[in-house]
């Protein structure tokens, strides 16, 4: 039996965590990445990483509460055992990062400092300045470099994953990848493959994601038989700086310090904003939500900004959607507290936001959905069976998926500072499962597999390249991408209506047809970025279909997926008796909705189309309950819901008794 080998695709936090943990276990890793791993998208994370800590424990916090915040924030769409395992591990994950030298901010005593993030009552978030993601990935990059120096890891940077190689039993035996400089296509035999390939923001044209986040790798795995789950769950952040090339995040703290969101009442008023009098400004968040003002929850702020621009045509600019985020009225000492983020705005917009209102707009930010991944529940702990062959395994045997690329952990909506945790946790946690998988491989190592298997896969991809390069047509791939992004952003992001989604599905079909006539302006065979992009565009069209079709079929509101036509009517009565009646009706509708839709969407590829099915969610730890933030009669709804649960429980026990 030859030497065993694991291929890790993607060198962000998840891929690096898996690589270093595998290397430590003595398993050789080929690490494949489109960019030098230090430049992966994880660097863009700003806020921090969550865990229960000594400080919060003394306030009554514990791992169960971290699980509860995570699944409540995710609107109960995620399987709970993986979340439990992740939250149990979180304190140890952060201890490890601390030992690796991450420059976490410190208290005067030299302990890690923490801040509070959305969706929790506790200060669970450790952070390193405003660049936590960068600092974490650097620590892991350094560890992997150490293993590289020892020969345990071979890095293939500027290599693009083209697809897994499956043997006749459907077992994954390696991958095909392409050198993005020389355009050489070759196989990488492997006994296990780990996909850590991130999100798919570029399907929406511009997003807060990096240029490599096309979803191309996920689509290629999908086409090879890996199912894709909850694709329609895409997080949109309310405030980003619209750019001509990308949308850059503008932190919520600007509003926290008193920043106000407004648009001129006159559509596309051309005047200098500072000269527009208050009476001609529409402070729509303050007017629509007098109680919360500019600090309404994220999803509501996102929806309202979208509504004002798209449905009321009040965007500040013609041809570009944006509203003002105004900190010009703040006292200089308050502005100073915002220096970090104001400097980003100044650097990229060239305007001084202390003097001129910022122009911001919501932006696609995170893919909660991803490639389907398995888990094995530990009935004793409620978490997972460590080292189980099923943990993080995709529907393709031998191919694992971790990080933002998987669909576990975040359900319908991700809490801030939970993504860095899920990426590193899933990367570390998958390693013992792979180790066990390698030790029980019946067919020996991949290097014993017939060479024809690998040659066949390589020639298939070479043929695909030759076909695409030689394609004759008059369609420009960049134009098609722009049209795709425009339609997806308009109809399948913040507010979703079935007739609009249908329009986009028709558009995707049209673009898929036009893609057949795509023509490359570079037909060369050296560092051909034009080709790389065009190939990824084909993948983006497939991902778009999965996202849009999933969104169309899910007739409910859950987390980031908001369909006003299927919203349960909120109670509005003032009379307590009537309010209770309405709350009861609300809870009954909520129960009916959950019976039908508390399920993961599972997309399966078939040539020429996508099949959808629905999978039950493991809610064995915490019973789902309504999210009532901002609803009138929230307390009474919660009370009625508890009564309904108790009654159902009593019924169940009575049945067991007889």
């Amino acid at each position: 039996m030859g030497k065993q080998n694991v291929v890790v695709v993607g060198g962000g936090l998840a891929g690096l965590a898996a690589s270093m943990r595998l290397a430590e276990a003595g398993i050789h890793v080929d690490l494949i990445s489109m960019v030098p791993v230090k430049r992966s998208h994880s660097v863009c994370a700003q806020g921090g990483i969550n865990s229960v800590n000594d400080y919060t424990r003394q306030q009554g916090d514990n791992e169960w509460l971290h699980v509860d915040d995570t699944v409540y924030g995710g609107d109960f769409l995620q399987h709970q055992p993986p979340v439990k395992e992740m939250c149990d591990w979180a304190p140890r994950v952060i201890d490890l990062l601390d030992r690796l030298g991450v420059t976490f901010n410190r208290t005067p005593e030299g302990l890690r400092d923490h801040r509070r993030f959305g969706g929790t009552m506790y200060e669970r978030t450790a952070f390193a300045g405003a660049t936590t993601g960068q600092q974490l990935i650097y620590a892991l990059d350094e560890q992997v470099r150490r293993w590289e120096a020892e020969g345990k890891v071979d890095k293939y940077e500027y290599w693009e994953f083209l697809g897994p190689i499956l043997d006749d039993k459907g077992q994954c035996r390696g991958v095909v990848a392409q050198d993005m400089f020389s355009m050489e296509i070759r196989s990488f035999p492997a006994d296990a493959v780990v996909l850590a390939t991130g999100g798919c923001g570029l399907v929406f044209g511009r997003s807060t994601m990096s240029m490599i986040c096309t979803g191309g790798a996920a689509a290629r795995a999908f086409k090879s038989g890996a199912n894709y789950a909850n694709g329609e769950f895409i997080q949109v952040h309310p405030t980003a700086i619209p750019g001509t090339d990308k949308l850059r995040l503008m932190s919520e703290s600007a509003r926290g310090e008193g920043g106000r969101v407004w648009v001129p009442k006159k559509p596309q008023d051309g005047r200098d904003p500072m000269t527009i009098p208050a009476s001609e400004r529409y402070y729509f968040l303050e007017e629509r939500y007098p109680k919360y003002g500019n600090l309404v929850p994220r999803d509501i702020a996102t929806r309202e900004i979208f509504d004002v621009c798209v449905n009321h045509n009040l965007s500040v600019e013609q041809g570009r959607l944006c509203v003002y985020l105004d900190v010009t009225e703040l006292a200089p000492e308050t502005q100073k507290k915002l220096d970090g983020i104001l400097e980003i705005y100044e650097k990229f917009q060239g305007d001084n936001p202390r003097k001129i209102p910022m122009k911001i707009f919501p932006a696609v930010h995170y893919s909660m959905g991803g490639l389907w991944a398995d888990f094995e529940r530990n009935d004793q702990t409620g978490g997972l069976v460590s080292g189980s062959l099923r943990n993080q395994l995709s529907t393709v045997p031998g191919m694992y998926v971790i990080g933002e690329a998987d669909y576990q952990y975040h359900g319908g909506n991700r809490l801030g500072a939970n993504s860095l945790l899920s990426c590193i946790f899933s990367g570390l946690f998958v390693a013992p499962s792979i180790q066990n998988q390698l030790s029980c491989l019946k067919d020996g190592s991949a290097s014993d597999a017939p060479s024809s298997l690998y040659e066949g896969a390589v020639s298939e991809h070479k043929q695909h390249m030759a076909d695409l390069v030689g394609n004759r047509g008059d369609e420009n791939p960049y134009q098609l991408h722009q049209e795709l992004g425009d339609s997806m952003t308009r109809n399948v992001t913040v507010v979703r209506r079935n007739k609009d989604i249908e329009t986009t599905i028709i558009k995707i079909a049209e673009l898929t047809e036009r893609y057949k006539n795509v023509s490359l302006s570079d037909k060369g065979n050296w560092t051909n970025q034009n080709f790389s992009f065009t190939r990824a565009l084909g993948d983006m069209l497939l991902m778009a279909k999965v996202i849009a079709q999933g969104a169309l079929q899910r007739d409910e509101c859950r987390g980031a997926h908001y369909k006003p036509d299927f919203q349960i009517t909120a109670p509005d009565a003032d009379d307590p008796g009537e309010l209770r009646k309405q709350a009861t009706a609300w809870c009954q509708s909520f129960k009916k909705k959950n019976d039908q839709w508390l399920k993961s969407t599972v997309a399966k590829y078939k040539p020429g189309g996508v099949d959808f099915s629905y999978e039950a969610v493991d809610t064995s730890l915490i019973p789902p309950r309504p999210r009532t933030y901002g609803l009138k009669g929230a307390e009474i709804i919660e009370e009625v819901w508890r009564e309904m649960l108790a009654a159902a429980d009593k019924d169940k026990k009575a049945k067991v008794g007889t």
């Binding site: 270093m20 943990r21 430590e24 960019v35 230090k38 430049r39 992966s40 998208h41 660097v43 863009c44 201890d95 490890l96 030992r99 690796l100 030298g101 420059t103 976490f104 901010n105 410190r106 208290t107 005067p108 005593e109 030299g110 890690r112 390193a128 300045g129 660049t131 960068q134 600092q135 650097y138 620590a139 350094e142 560890q143 470099r145 150490r146 590289e148 120096a149 400089f181 990096s210 240029m211 750019g243 001509t244 090339d245 990308k246 850059r248 980003i344 990229f348 917009q349 570390l428 420009n476 960049y478 134009q479 302006s521 570079d522 060369g524 050296w526 560092t527 970025q529 034009n530 992009f533």
Partner: protein, 255 residues
């Protein structure tokens, strides 16, 4: 004002492959507010037609985060090394009366057009053992306590993106010199100050004291001026000088 004109010209130094000749191509870009150099390169990719109306190919370039935090898109614009994403066209146009001049970094082998191979920088990080050698990744509790002052010293050094600006500006970093460059020296200083990482400090000082180490720094102080993250590189270089001297003295006296 030049920004009011309807279009502007970009001169780009091109090279088809590592061995091909360098040549220049001009592209006429319609002006719009808010452009940066990355968008200009995206526009060229979408419509690669030169100023004299010849069909060309998209210009190859590196780009990733577009927030000046990944370090990918470093290039030389109007003679100044910087990231293309944060090079706003309105500002770049003010620097010149002629076309905008764009070249790849000169200190690294060109792969194609503006794409260069910065592998040498990552190899230097291996040489100086830029990592904390922990016992293992199993649970051993939290790390050592670190005072806020120590964190404030370490954090700026830890923001290095390995973007290449400092070595591009460094007169000592070139084909004829073995100098590992300011970025790698600064990382050695960062890890020597780490409470656990200092276990390898002698190995790092040995590298800094040997060929290509701190003695090859010419003290031009260009590095610190071009660093986009404002890392105090000259402080690191000075510290490296002092620490290697002490290290050599200790060695001389057999301690």
């Amino acid at each position: 004002m030049i920004t009011m004109s309807k279009s502007f010209t970009v001169n780009i130094q091109r090279q088809d492959d590592p061995h091909g000749p360098k040549y220049s191509e001009s592209f006429e870009i319609p002006y719009e507010p808010g452009l940066n150099m990355t968008t200009v390169l995206q526009r060229i990719a979408a419509n690669p037609v030169t100023s004299d109306n010849k069909d060309s190919t998209p210009v190859a370039y590196d780009a990733c985060c577009l927030e000046e935090i990944c370090g990918a898109c470093t290039m030389v614009i109007n003679g100044h090394v910087r990231q293309a994403c944060s090079a706003l066209i309105d500002n770049v146009l003010k620097e010149t009366t002629g076309p905008i001049d764009v070249k790849p970094m000169s200190k690294f082998p060109v792969v194609r057009d503006l794409v260069v191979n910065r592998k040498a920088m990552f190899e230097s990080l291996k040489r100086v053992k830029a990592w904390v050698r922990v016992d293992g990744y199993h649970d051993l509790g939290s790390g050592p306590r670190v005072s806020p002052h120590e964190q404030e010293d370490a954090y700026p050094l830890s923001k290095c993106m390995t973007c290449g600006c400092c070595v591009e500006a460094c007169p000592q970093f070139n084909d004829k010199s073995p100098f590992i460059g300011p970025a790698a020296v600064s990382q050695a200083i960062l890890f020597n100050a780490n409470p656990t990482g200092k276990i390898d400090s002698e190995a790092r000082l040995e590298v800094l004291a040997s060929r290509g180490g701190i003695a090859d720094c010419g003290n031009s102080q260009n590095c610190v001026k071009v660093c986009p993250k404002e890392i105090p590189l000259t402080d690191s270089l000075a510290k490296a000088g002092r620490d290697t001297t002490l290290y050599k003295l200790r060695q001389f006296f057999g301690r």
